[in-house]
Symmetry: C2
Subunit: 146 residues, 2 copies
Amino acid sequence: MATQHLDIAQVAQQSGVPASTLRFYEEKGLIASTGRRGLRRLFDAGVLERLALIAVGRAAGFSLDEIARMFAPEGGPRIDRQMLAAKAEELDRTIRKLSAMRDGLRHAVACPAPSHMECPTFRRIVRAAASGAIGAREKKAPKLPN
Amino acid sequence: MATQHLDIAQVAQQSGVPASTLRFYEEKGLIASTGRRGLRRLFDAGVLERLALIAVGRAAGFSLDEIARMFAPEGGPRIDRQMLAAKAEELDRTIRKLSAMRDGLRHAVACPAPSHMECPTFRRIVRAAASGAIGAREKKAPKLPN
DNA sequence: GTGCAACTTCAAGTCGACTTGAGGTCAAGA
DNA sequence: TCTTGACCTCAAGTCGACTTGAAGTTGCAC
């Protein structure tokens, strides 16, 4: 045998991704099964890495369709580098905002002000984090596990 | 007049948040109107800051309910500092993952490998970003505008 | 006083990402 | 051979966060 084959239950167990989600991802073209044993899907071990990639992409706020577009064409139509660069920029802005939010939360933990909105430091942090976040609706943000 | 009053259309225009969303947020208790002119809601100018806060919270991946819990009780039951600290930690982990993802994307832009999965650098970055992201499903991550 | 654009309420619809349920199939162990 | 349990398919349901639509009301310009 070439690479190791795992059935769907093993992939689910090793990745933590439910079998129902694996089927759903396959249907969406995000992962591919390499065959069947009876009815059961078999996956190449590489699927685990791919799932990790999908998880990270989701964590970064990309939709499944975007992830598919970014990584699906293995040797396909050629990946859009400009799009990737734009995504990296987007991510960078997100990171800056989240950093401000984190600082704001840490401050709130320590701050004695009765309501955080009355604390000038907190308000300054919010303003920093919010610059541009408002008034330019596009999509929204995701929630990370772990 | 004490503070400046804005009607819902002005708030919508200045914040970029649709009036329907403002009504929805009010219903959820995230913002409060200070009165009415006829049927029309009037808001205190401070609502703009509050909306910014909500936007940043969303960008950080918090649900509306979580945001409400974090900031709603203006002088209320007392804010849960431990929860805020935990959120800050969570955010910090998210930020590290997103940073890895961003680096991965930037590398992908420059990398000549035919498929990114075949590039050792990219795979290393994915592994770094994924550590813990997989196998510990809980929720998912946000998508930031702007 | 009359129009009407812009607001109001309330219920229902939408969207992405899955999950759940009903009914079916199969490989492997007793 | 027969059971059984884990998988299969396909349709429908769920959840959060809004958006849309129908039907009603009203401040303000004329």
